[in-house]
Subunit: 223 residues, 2 copies
DNA sequence: AAGTAGTCTTACTCATCAGTAGGTAAGCCT
DNA sequence: AGGCTTACCTACTGATGAGTAAGACTACTT
């Protein structure tokens, strides 16, 4: 046995004749686990069915093909995450406070849902068109959200000029930094979500803070 | 034909009886292309052999198994990239100047080697242990390099305190931001490497700049 | 009790590759 | 010329894994 058994802990209780909705949840839970562990291609439907404690044809009956199953995973997890973050952001608040809350919610979610995170971050991005599209859509929404926030921050400070068409790449960079920090976190699990969030704020906000005030960095400024 | 043909432009000239070293280069070139296009698992050795204009057994004879071939790709491209960046960084320079040069070299390399970048960034990270290790090693070196640079920057400003054990995650975040910007760049190819590099500097250095001066962001600072 | 709708299984088919066996032929030495 | 090495090929094997056919069991109707 070269491959580790993904199940192991929870030997499928093989409960009988459960309603469809319940089975679908079980299947999705299993699929997220297996996909996150093995990656899309290396994951087999047989293993998903094993972990879910159900036979393979049921998966095809309920969720369709492997592609459709994976897409369903992405969508469910992306929605869960966006809801977790969206839930704490209040448009009437200070942009800085909003960013802090969002970032904190992000790290809290990742800390509590490693598998979801793996599926979204590592797997979805690297597979063919259908998922990349699905994922890109979610990321685009996140970036748009942050980008709008930065625009508002810039506007509030009365220095909106720098921002025209510039906040989007910066928002992209910020999400990238967040993803990288989440990655780093996997190897330093002793850190709290709050500590991680603070790191990202220090990197980004103190940087953005200066940009917002019109203090930009440029090449030939060097001493 | 559902799959796009990865070759297409360059119909393999089928030159005959070339020396081994040349063939190996051709095979690696083809492999990088196919892996970057399809991803590790979806790429088939048959397609690599097609694109390389050589038969499959030659690949096995020269480069070994599929895993070994992929590992060889990663190593070659990672080395090329590290050399491109390392070549412009001079330890005697100002940290800020060093960072600027490194960042610029990074975007220049990515701009000129999209395929290499795809293989390194998207594919290598998501496959099993052997490659993740190979890749993590490269990334670790990059992060260590940046981390050391930040330490020096902090020391130079006489505010080394904040930096103890703190620069590594920040360096990780910086590389993540760089990767995300490179990704964003793929959809906005009209941007110059210099413009991309400046974006990253604005985000990171202006942020780091404050940190270095002991001006850190913290949660309950909010207005 | 008999129909029927929904749950669930075993046991296949069939395509796709990784990897190889066993060979041909071209250049390069004497 | 004849041998020897290296480049190169066609044509297989064997495993894995997506997807399905065909039916069995259960429980809820009427």
């Amino acid at each position: 046995m070269t491959k580790k058994d993904v199940a192991g802990e929870t030997p499928p209780p093989r409960a009988k004749r459960l309603p469809r909705a319940v089975r679908e949840r079980q299947i999705l839970d299993a699929a997220v686990r297996v996909f996150s562990e093995r990656g899309y291609h290396a994951a087999s439907m047989d293993e998903v069915s094993d972990v879910a404690g159900i036979s393979k044809p049921m998966i095809y009956a309920y969720l369709g093909s492997k592609e459709e199953l994976f897409a369903a995973c992405i969508q469910r997890e992306a929605t869960r995450m966006m809801e977790a973050i969206g839930g704490v952001v209040d448009v009437h608040l200070d942009p800085e406070e909003q960013l802090w809350r969002g970032v904190l919610a992000f790290f809290t979610f990742v800390g509590e849902n490693r598998d979801s995170w793996q599926v979204l971050h590592r797997q979805a991005g690297t597979q063919g068109a259908p998922f990349a599209a699905e994922l890109a859509e979610g990321r685009r929404r996140a970036i748009a959200m942050i980008s709008a926030l930065l625009d508002r921050a810039a506007g509030k400070e009365g220095v909106g000029a720098f921002a025209e068409g510039q906040t989007e790449p910066l928002a992209a960079a910020l999400t990238g930094a967040g993803e990288a920090l989440a990655e780093w976190w996997l190897e330093h699990p002793e850190e709290s979500p709050k500590a991680m969030a603070r790191r990202l704020m220090n990197l980004s906000w103190m940087g953005f803070g200066n940009l917002v005030l019109g203090r930009a960095w440029h090449p030939d400024r060097t001493a």
